[in-house]
Symmetry: C2
């Protein structure tokens, strides 16, 4: 583990490249919520090339939980389409390393374990549409109360590809009834970040027994007049990767995302070469 000397509040308001520099140097290894405002943040999956074609097919077939925003060349740790000088071995605050589907380590740098056959896949994350909801005065309970978003296993089957299959993980945000349609329209503008909700209302409809018992994250209160609204969640691909028991697979640690240079509202997630 790096010795971390910079706090989250020190980084607030800094541009993406400065935040990544603090992460790369080892000065910061915390979560990235609220940092580099306006820039797309990414879920991360790094896996051996032999699995990459099937994983890209899986993401293409399940675009709501797995919105593809960047793919690296085999063995190349740089991600030029997502940002200037992004080195995926050092530029994420915290990584989880899985072997045969079991977590083997949580680290702040993967330079030592990088291999020539690894392919980096970056997927959009919910920060993007949450920021848009907040900008439009739609409350986001877990942010307002300083918690992690509640996540649930649903019974919604994913479209399989090769060894990758399973059910969708969803997040839940309670939205005032009168704002549900607006929340749908706003999030639908961000297909690179899970897009429109996948369900609203009764959790039993999508196989969730008890909203007060999330599978990950923290339960949040649903106030009178609010409706639970469910979005596809970036934990889905992580779960699917683990279930496939790849010999090696590296992800970000929850909340510790890759910060890109791509604007959240860009038409595509691909930066032009300089």
């Amino acid at each position: 583990m790096k010795d971390t000397s910079v706090s989250h509040s020190d980084l607030r308001g800094l541009p993406a490249d400065k935040v990544r520099a603090a992460i790369r140097s080892g000065d910061y290894a915390g979560h990235t919520a609220g940092l580099a405002a306006g820039k797309l943040q990414c879920n991360l999956a790094i896996l051996p090339e032999v699995y990459a074609l099937d994983f890209l097919r899986f993401c293409q077939r399940n675009p709501k939980p797995c919105p593809l925003v960047g793919v690296g060349d085999t063995g190349d740790p740089m991600l030029p389409t997502l940002g200037r000088d992004i080195d995926i071995r050092t530029d994420v605050p915290k990584y989880r390393v899985f072997k045969d589907g079991v977590m083997a380590a949580e680290v702040t740098d993967i330079t030592d374990i990088w291999q020539d056959d690894l392919v980096t896949v970056a997927l959009g994350c919910s920060f993007t549409f949450e920021n848009a909801l907040l900008r439009n005065d739609i409350p986001v309970r877990h942010i307002d109360t300083g918690r992690n978003v509640p996540m649930y296993r649903s019974n919604i089957d994913l479209t399989p590809a090769g060894p990758f299959a399973g059910q969708m993980v969803v997040t839940m945000r309670p939205i005032p009834q009168a704002q549900v349609e607006e929340a749908r329209q706003i999030s639908a503008r961000f297909p690179q970040a899970h897009g429109a909700p996948i369900a609203t209302g009764d959790p039993a409809d999508i196989g969730i027994a008890d909203l007060s018992q999330p599978d990950w994250g923290d339960a949040v209160e649903i106030k009178p007049g609010e409706v639970p609204v469910y979005w596809a969640c970036g934990v889905t691909p992580q779960n699917v990767l683990l279930a496939a028991k790849l010999p090696l697979c590296i992800t970000h640690s929850p909340g510790h995302m890759l910060i890109s240079d791509v604007a959240e509202d860009a038409e595509t997630t691909i930066l032009k070469p300089e």
Copy 2:
């Protein structure tokens, strides 16, 4: 070649599955413009699995000319995410078969040359946003005059992946000045079909010497008060595939597209399993 006994006008107004049935049986081998209204039509690239990962990376990095809408399993000719019972060996009216970058044959059925290592990649096409322009009373000159859309090689560099690289091919449609912004907004709603224009105005800005001399298709008149508007074109990936001189590569013939069951305005291009 199949003996074709059904005309384009016989098929107008029929649902997608009936049109595909006429194509599969060999009764129809013509172009698909205006057929199965409201359904997404697709550009097609079929290539050996060994090139598929790089080609998917190429499409992900160049989403405007190469909007990925479906990918088949290796060796499997069925495309369940795009439609019921789509067999890519028989359900496209006309195919072009390329060997080492040279056209070897134009055929109406590829059952005899299908291989266990082939991967089908389907990409969105401009019919989708043209239909939306027409519905909004924005004129589309080449359709109004019964011509093929004019296509031009531009100097816009593509983002390379493996053996795939080159410059973007663009289409041009003259749009009345007062409707250019509306045309932009309408086409931007269809990222699965090339999205918003990539340029407007002076052709020299994107390396086109003479609009009256298209590289493919037919020149169209630009009337006083109209502005040339350029969109990314689905000929781009075909060109790039040919330049890569793959030992085998199969595409649709121009205008002879795969008709899917996916609604043109669907949030994603992935059908749910039945």
